[in-house]
Symmetry: C2
Subunit: 122 residues, 2 copies
């Protein structure tokens, strides 16, 4: 498929796709006229790159664990899981605190509505 569709399906810009390719994270074929031609495999790989980057990894880091990008894992994925787990720690800490905070807010909200209900039912 062509660049436009690929970008749309991934929810990113063509520029970003080209960037990933320039950084050696993607190797996209061309048609006779020189246009890039994305396969479904390319798409999945690009999707992973997008996710890694959105999660705070640099292209350099991603390149270092390129085995994590292929559909069929050839290598042991060079510490990819470990690094991901570090990110997870960060995110988990945040999520735990936010969840806590959210329920506190919900509680206060419930209490408030309760109070109003009590009042209005008098």
């Amino acid at each position: 498929m062509q660049a436009k569709e690929a970008a749309e399906r991934l929810g990113i810009t063509q520029r970003m796709l080209r960037h990933y390719e320039n950084e050696g994270l993607l190797d996209v074929g061309r048609t006779l006229n020189g246009y890039r031609s994305y396969t479904e495999v390319d798409l999945r790989r690009a999707g992973r790159v997008r996710d890694f980057i959105a999660t705070g990894f640099s292209t350099r880091e991603i390149r270092a664990m390129s085995a994590c990008l292929s559909d069929e894992g050839a290598g042991p994925c060079e510490g990819g899981l470990e690094k991901l787990k570090e990110k997870l720690e960060h995110i988990d800490r945040l999520r735990a605190e936010l969840d806590e905070k959210r329920s506190a807010v919900m509680d206060r909200l419930a209490t408030l509505q309760n109070g109003l209900a009590t009042v209005s039912s008098r």
Copy 2:
């Protein structure tokens, strides 16, 4: 506590702490001599900033949901949970694929060792 200790306890540089402060994410008090003085509350907040940034958020985004940073959540945390959930989606997709890949590798490894054991026990 002073800058050095604060940075060490957070596992980041003093430069980064100052950066967070310059970006309006932290408001650290000073002692008479002008030295920054970090409280435990400051530390927790800075830790959250560190985690948000390590997870791919920009100072700008973090500022926009600054309610997510205070110990006692005053506000509804302005979409903080939603954004975090997006990040989680990215990370979850990656983790699922990596876990899958890892077990595939482990399987092959087990098969291999099994084969060797069989051979050596002949």
